[in-house]
């Protein structure tokens, strides 16, 4: 029945080599973590997670600046995280001696939140800075960590009673 089967054996051999070569090439080309969690490279998750951090987080700030924490508790800015105004400072947190945060211009920083705008919530304190202060720095009158002026006076008055 199989008289002249040499050519078939040759063909089978070639195909077997091709299949083995395909398996080896596939294993060499596809990253090992591909398919670990799904149809993607599993190592990519760790690569994205490896990015350095720019914003330290207010818990880190509060570890050292306890006097500011106490001061903020007296005013409405208690809910405002440090880096909302002071900017990203993880490099300062890592090396407080050599990296010092830049001094803020309150005329610019305060206006970002408190400049009047009809789209802002009605209950949020807003001023037209040109009318309110004529553009002078807000910290001339307000203490940014404890911004209320009246409330502090009231407390002094209540203390006298």
């Amino acid at each position: 029945m199989f008289k002249d089967i040499e050519h078939l054996i040759r063909l089978a051999l070639v195909m077997a080599i091709a299949v083995v070569a395909f398996i080896f090439v596939r294993a060499a080309v596809i990253p090992r973590s591909f398919g670990q969690y799904g149809h993607y490279r599993g190592d990519a998750i760790a690569e994205v997670a490896a990015r350095p951090i720019a914003f330290a987080g207010h818990q880190v700030c509060e570890g050292c600046h306890t006097e500011v924490v106490d001061q903020k508790k007296l005013g409405k800015h208690v809910v405002v995280p440090c880096e909302a105004c002071h900017g990203a400072l993880s490099n300062h947190a890592e090396d407080p001696a050599s990296v010092t945060p830049p001094k803020l211009d309150t005329a610019v920083v305060c206006a970002r939140c408190h400049e009047a705008n009809s789209a802002k919530p009605k209950t949020f304190p807003q001023v037209v800075t040109a009318d309110h202060s004529g553009g002078i720095a807000c910290d001339t009158c307000h203490q940014p960590h404890k911004p209320g002026i009246e409330s502090s006076d009231k407390k002094v008055a209540e203390g006298k009673k």
Binding site: F34, R41, A44, E83, G87, N117
Partner: protein, 243 residues
């Protein structure tokens, strides 16, 4: 060697520790973080947003987003009286420097911060031809920069317009939900700097997360629910005109 009861008692705890190590996946990359224990989302409280643009600036700084491109941005809506279907929306420079005073008087005005919705059934990951974008086991949609071809299918597929091609790398880029921060126990950069708490990171798998109580007791929506994307950015107090 004969295994006595003493041997077995010594063996069991060490085997348990070893098994836990195996289950944790790749422990060397994130020592105390387990992918399967989280399911991330975000809560956006529109009545609290003051449009200061802190989130947009923080995102750009934290993630080195190129100028003119945004992983998160803030829109200002103006709805004139009854014209709910035709709101006027503006977002100058993504709201990065805040918003100029409104010119239109009357009607309704409010801010809407936008970002990737980290959809559970995301259209963008389904169209990627090379497996370069995916939903992680903890529910964050990420891009594998090394695999991305820059073909822009995903940019077209996202119904929320949250993706762009980075002009430097020519690969797709998007909000990672600050994956490098949340895996280390921090909140995202945008949530960290939000002065009014309008943005809050939410872990939907953590039963102690206040998100569950909030979702139960408030009128919360997602964007484009009719597209069934499984969006996980929840908007509280959102007007019907928001697109």
């Amino acid at each position: 060697m004969e295994i006595t009861r003493r041997h077995l008692l010594l063996l069991l705890p060490s085997a348990a520790v070893a098994w836990k190590y195996v289950l944790a996946g790749t422990p060397e990359s994130a020592p105390n973080y387990k992918l399967t224990e989280h399911w991330w989302g975000m809560l956006i409280d529109i009545p609290k947003c003051i449009g200061c643009g802190s989130c947009v600036r923080a995102c750009a700084q934290e993630n080195e987003v190129p100028d003119g491109y945004f992983r998160t941005w803030v829109e200002r809506y103006h709805v004139a009286d009854w014209k709910i279907e035709k709101p006027e929306v503006e977002s100058p420079d993504g709201g990065k420097q805040g918003f100029p005073p409104n010119e239109e008087s009357g009607g309704k005005n409010f801010f809407v911060p936008k970002l990737c919705n980290h959809c559970a059934d995301s259209p963008c990951t389904q169209v990627c031809p090379v497996g370069a974008t995916f939903v992680t086991p903890d529910g964050v949609v990420l891009v594998d920069k090394k695999y991305c071809l820059g073909c822009r299918y995903c940019v077209q597929a996202c119904p929320y317009g949250c993706r762009f091609i980075n002009p430097k790398t020519n690969t797709a880029e998007k909000c990672t939900l600050c994956y490098h921060r949340i895996t280390k126990g921090l909140t995202t950069a945008c949530c960290e700097v939000c002065p009014t708490g309008a943005r809050q990171l939410a872990d939907l798998k953590n039963p102690k997360d206040p998100i569950h109580e909030f979702l139960r007791t408030h009128t919360v929506q997602v964007l484009k629910p009719h597209m069934a994307t499984g969006a996980k950015v929840f908007y509280n107090g959102m007007d019907g005109s928001v697109r």
